[in-house]
Symmetry: C2
Subunit: 334 residues, 2 copies
């Protein structure tokens, strides 16, 4: 398998490290030519995971996305969901047709409110049977420092997912497979909303007891949403372990991490900052912010029982005060 | 309802605060007469939760357990499981017969390897229909500082559990009810084992990614054990939400708390201390230590699929090295 990676943020850089640690040559799309030069000369990404060393003979870098895609049979997409459409905009409509796509994107494309596979099918005629996801609780920083982590590869055809997964298994990376291609993607989106909410709760000075109850009940909502997705998508096999790393594990690491951008953003909302002020102060928008609206919209049709996520949406988008919002949430918790 | 409390540690003191904040007169068994004098004169427990103020007119304290039990119809047991048999040893065999018992004990009695209800039935002819538990994610320190928490009251008759629960509801305490009297008690025991294991993992320098996967899979084991208990005890209603606070919530707060004794103890084991050395250094035995053996024994008959808890037992009791033990656990995780 010839691998390509689209993106050069911290997660893309971590994935490049994993594949090159396995001696794979990678075709790597990096938008910024200066970064390419720096990596070529200094063997490190100047902006992300500086500690990860790259063997130059294993890197085929280019700022031309067509060039990268052309040379590989597996394309790993690792750009934040808000920027992926732009990153792929130079690609011809058939460029991805015969490729296996592996999405490492934890989010919904905000403009079209679609999962990546839906967006790619609409715009590049891709086939769901060649679409896979690579998800799970994985701070890129811990990949850089080679702390043992678990990645889950999902695909309609789980055996192909397992073949791809084998290339990502290293001493510090275990892999798991799964066939719940829709459920894992929604779980990855929902967790950012709940983590943002955990930050709001912290900002409102709730304690550890409350936080544990809030997160446990968030896990319950995530399962309810995922089951509803499966039901609505009429998938047959529903024998899914929702306590596995890609569902509950990822929720936990995101909610409990003090360094999570979602949590920091939420903390400022809880302390009384407006969304706009929090954005300016932190110089970023947390993924949970857009995610809350995407899920709210998706759920207008799906009608899963997700009052926590809905209330966080109302706080972020409909001017419900964090205090009142969390008073409501208190009443939902068991 | 006239409430009695057996015990004066931090959790017993927190429960005394909750009931007296609701203006209940409480009959309170405190072994040490000096503590009784101190509380009478200074309105604070000298040893635990010093910040909790007690209105003296609401306290009927005695170091005579018969005196305390005689005056109440609900007896709240809040002594560590290893000491409860001793605390009750002065009671006559019929003293508890007409009382409602509320267990706030998170453990198995180590000598007889029994849940408290089993021990009381054998020694005091108590009736399971008058036995209730009060459990959930609740650091006593957060009760003292009046941070919102959730307590779950369980009983075979859930409506009586709800009546009792009503007396514990305050501005800072929400209550939930449940009928899974065996499952909640075992979940409270198991969580200490998993938290001790989280400490070992930390001591072995696993990172946050791994910890989240370990805890998610521990939650899965806890559910498997609890389902098996229900099946074996032939309870009919198995409509249980295992993501609720009393199961998953309590596991989370215990595993993620840096101040948990189980976690501290485990951390020393992971760093290479022997069990005996960790005991001497910390001047205590973590509950998860005995719990791991109790669960191991119980599971010899039950045969639930709990490889993580079994491996932690082997590390603590059968000289399996923490490194090798966690290498095994790595292979169990999904």
């Amino acid at each position: 398998m010839q691998f390509g990676i689209i993106g050069s943020g911290s997660w893309a850089t971590a994935l490049a490290k994993i594949l090159t640690d396995n001696q794979h040559v990678i075709h790597w799309w990096i938008r910024d030519a200066n970064s390419i030069n720096h990596i070529q000369q200094r063997h490190h990404n100047p902006h992300y995971l500086n500690s990860a060393y790259f063997e130059p003979s294993l890197l085929k870098m280019s700022s031309d996305v067509n060039e990268v895609v052309k040379h590989c049979d597996v394309v790993v997409m690792a750009v934040p969901s808000a920027y992926i459409a732009d990153a792929l905009s130079g690609l011809s409509k058939d460029a991805l047709k015969d490729k296996k796509i592996v999405s490492a994107i934890k989010g919904i494309l905000p403009e079209s409110n679609q999962l990546l596979n839906e967006y790619l099918a609409d715009n590049f005629n891709t086939d769901i049977n060649k679409y896979f996801t690579l998800l799970g609780p994985c701070h890129a920083e811990e990949v850089a420092s080679e702390k043992l982590s678990y990645l889950t590869f999902s695909g309609v055809d789980e055996s192909v997912a397992a073949e791809i997964a084998a290339h990502f298994k290293t001493e510090y990376m275990n892999t798991v497979t799964n066939h719940d291609i829709n459920g894992v993607q929604y779980a990855a989106v929902l967790k950012n909303i709940y983590a943002l909410g955990a930050g709001i709760a912290h900002g409102l000075e709730y304690g550890d007891n409350f936080l544990s109850v809030y997160i446990a009940n968030s896990a319950d909502e995530m399962v309810k949403f995922s089951r509803k997705v499966i039901h609505d998508f009429s998938l047959e096999n529903t024998d899914i372990n929702y306590a596995a790393s890609v569902y509950l594990g990822d929720l936990l690491v995101t909610c409990y991490s003090l360094y999570s951008r979602n949590r920091m953003f939420g903390n400022m909302i809880g302390k009384g900052y407006s969304v706009k002020a929090a954005q300016l102060e932190l110089n970023m928008v947390a993924e949970g912010y857009n995610a809350s609206r995407c899920i709210f919209k998706t759920n207008e049709a799906l009608k899963a029982d997700i009052p926590i996520a809905t209330t966080i949406y109302q706080i972020l988008w409909e001017h419900l005060s964090p205090q009142e919002g969390f008073k409501k949430i208190e009443g939902f918790l068991q």
